[in-house]
């Protein structure tokens, strides 16, 4: 029993002797759990909620369509902007808007007949980002409500205003159909009665091209690829610390080689390793799940190279700031998880609250994931890769510069 107790005591003492590792053991799960609780609504105020970016193309210009646009704009859960049709399509394709709604010309004039299942119902075009399907459904539902409310206001506005003015209690007596025409239509529509939703929708998932289906594996392979390459970068940093610990760094430095050669060779080999991992991942995704590079192949390759270089310098940064390999590993894992989490590798960044979505532009993985999405299923061209590439190279330069300036060349003397 004495030996048993001593063994347990030893383990606990060893665990608590590394204060940095202990801190990370507590801080990492607390941070990650708090983050997920927060983004999935736990205790978050509605003002913080992620507002769905929606573009509305009002091709009608009638008082009814203006009323609908106005009501949609007033919705707290939506971030509505006016647009024209082609701009709206491009924005949805680039992921800048989740949904675009086009109210056609003549909508206001023909909508009344649509209530009664007329074959000439106006058709509202709904262009949506297929990776944000749920949000698209939500927007359509809100639209239907506002269409019916606007129609109701216009048709029954005079009556209800008079009644409310005369006696507030009158409102209680108004029929549900007058108070909420959408609900009334919905209730009646179930029984295939005379009144229906007065318009139809033409939904179009905006992918790389007409007839090209959205492939969800593209995003998951991009996200997980980014995360695991970050882990590779982390191992590169830890590896450098191990080399220092094992005296190998002394042997390398004893040779007539510049510091630039020593560090850049490490960076390049790490870049090549990361590129190989990405290549294998996407070849597998292509063969097994049909993930295609629908956009610019050059852009895709350049993003992969830029991200791999960024990861390599991230590794150098870990080596520059790390202590022993053992104490550094916990901190590096924490940093890698934070990068993955905020970069949208686990869950798409659009579900983050607005402020966090803005903040994550300083997270390099966000650019990598968005860039790879753009080049794969979104099918965007080289010009859409330039932003992510530039940002990743900027991070690469910053990490590399910081690492070189803080690298402890003589620490093992």
């Amino acid at each position: 029993m004495i030996a048993f107790r001593a063994l347990i005591k030893r383990d606990l003492r060893l665990f608590f002797s590394d204060r940095r590792a202990v801190l990370i053991s507590f801080v990492a799960p607390i941070c990650i759990a708090s983050f997920f609780g927060y983004i999935f609504g736990g205790g978050r105020g509605s003002d913080d909620a992620a507002r769905v970016p929606v573009l509305i193309v009002d091709q009608d210009g009638s008082s009814l369509s203006k009323e609908i646009v106005s009501l949609m704009t007033a919705e707290n859960s939506l971030d509505v902007e006016p647009s024209d049709f082609e701009q709206a399509r491009a924005a949805v394709r680039k992921g800048k808007a989740a949904v675009a709604i086009a109210i056609p010309a003549g909508f206001g004039a023909s909508i009344a007949s649509g209530l009664f299942n007329s074959p000439s119902k106006p058709v509202v075009a709904v262009l949506y980002d297929p990776s944000r399907n749920v949000e698209s459904r939500m927007v359509e539902s809100i639209l239907a409500g506002h269409v019916m409310q606007s129609m109701g206001d216009q048709a029954f506005g005079w009556i209800t205003r008079q009644a409310r003015a005369a006696d507030p209690a009158t409102e209680e007596a108004l029929s549900p159909g007058v108070k909420n025409p959408a609900g009334a239509v919905s209730a009646r529509g179930d029984s295939a009665s005379k009144m229906t939703i007065p318009y139809s929708t033409n939904e179009e998932a905006i992918t790389s091209g007409a007839g090209v289906k959205y492939n969800g594996y593209a995003h998951s392979f991009a996200g997980m690829g980014v995360q695991f390459i970050l882990f590779t970068g982390m191992e590169i940093g830890i590896g450098l610390l191990l080399q220092r610990q094992r005296g190998l760094w002394k042997r390398l430095r004893a040779a007539p080689l510049s510091r630039a050669v020593l560090l850049s060779s490490r960076t390049l080999s790490a870049t090549v390793t990361s590129l190989i991992i990405l290549a294998v991942l996407f070849i597998f995704a292509r063969l097994v799940f049909g993930v295609r590079i629908e956009g610019s192949m050059l852009g895709f390759a350049a993003i992969c190279v830029a991200f791999s270089m960024m990861t390599a310098t991230f590794g150098l940064l870990i080596a520059a700031f790390g202590g022993t390999p053992e104490t550094t590993r916990g901190l590096a894992i924490f940093a890698t998880l934070i990068f993955s989490m905020l970069g949208g590798a686990w869950v798409p960044s659009f579900i983050f609250p607005q402020w966090l979505q803005k903040l994550t532009v300083v997270i390099p993985t966000r650019w990598a994931v968005d860039g790879l999405d753009a080049m794969t299923w979104r099918g965007l061209g080289l010009s859409s890769a330039i932003g992510p590439i530039a940002m990743l190279l900027l991070f690469c330069a910053a990490f590399g510069g910081l690492a070189v300036s803080r690298f402890r060349w003589e620490a093992d003397g």
Binding site: R246, G247, K250, R251, A254, A255, P256, L257, E410, G413
Partner: protein
Amino acid sequence: MLEARNLHKTYRDLVAVDGVSLVAGAGETVGLLGPNGAGKTTTVSIIAGLIRPNRGEVLIEGRTLAGDTDPIKRRIGLVPQDLALYDELPARDNLALFGALYGLDRSTLKRAMAEVLELVGLADRAKDKVGTFSGGMKRRLNLAAALMHDPQILLLDEPTVGVDPQSRNAIFDNLETLKSRGKTLIYTTHYMEEAERLCDRIVIIDHGKVIANDTLQGLYRMLPASNVLVVELEDGGPPIEQFRSLAVVESAELKGSQLRVGIRRLTADAPAILQWLVDHGHPYRHVVSERADLETVFLSLTGRSLRD
């Protein structure tokens, strides 16, 4: 030839090396002897160009060593104290890498690899991963890796730490072979036996300072007593102050029933001391004489043991 002139290195308040100077010529082995933390490794690191001294300079064949990429570094081979090898790679791949760092082409690499593996007796293990080697074999390969580019000067930082006596002797044989080929060896150790066996000159370092720099014989001459008489007494021994006052006694220490007496002339002084003990009622059961060693020298110079 290697010359270190007045090297100084401090880390914040810690003075690691304080005015160390030494010279080593071709075919000469110079030992840096001192306890752990004396500044030996820092001195070697400065000579190897790993650390920039705050003051002083290192000259290799009359040229000052300057910067990371100075081609004169090709004249130096470093055997670090740690086993600076990739366990995951075969021995030959390790050697190929360390040779390539010095720009050896393929054919030179191949030739050098064969030579150094032969020298350290690992030719038959060239294809094996280093991780499968014993500690002694790794030490020998650690030496071989520093020889790939055929350096004139070899810096050996405690190259026998943790090895068995057989491997240690094998390494000593290797070093003697290299010395016979005219190589300059700088050998740091805190084992006096190694310094005594290998070194032509010994630089004793303590607290970053050179406290002696001479041949082995020269160091012994610094001692007040060149021999130690160890007497196992049958009783508690004489009052030590009274004993120390004897003219032939250079130093004396009584631990239990063991009396250690420093004397200059073994033949003349030992019988006189033994007779004095008998005459004063302190019979003895056993006597041995020891030659003074570097431990004694260090003790004499610093008042501390080399292994403190």
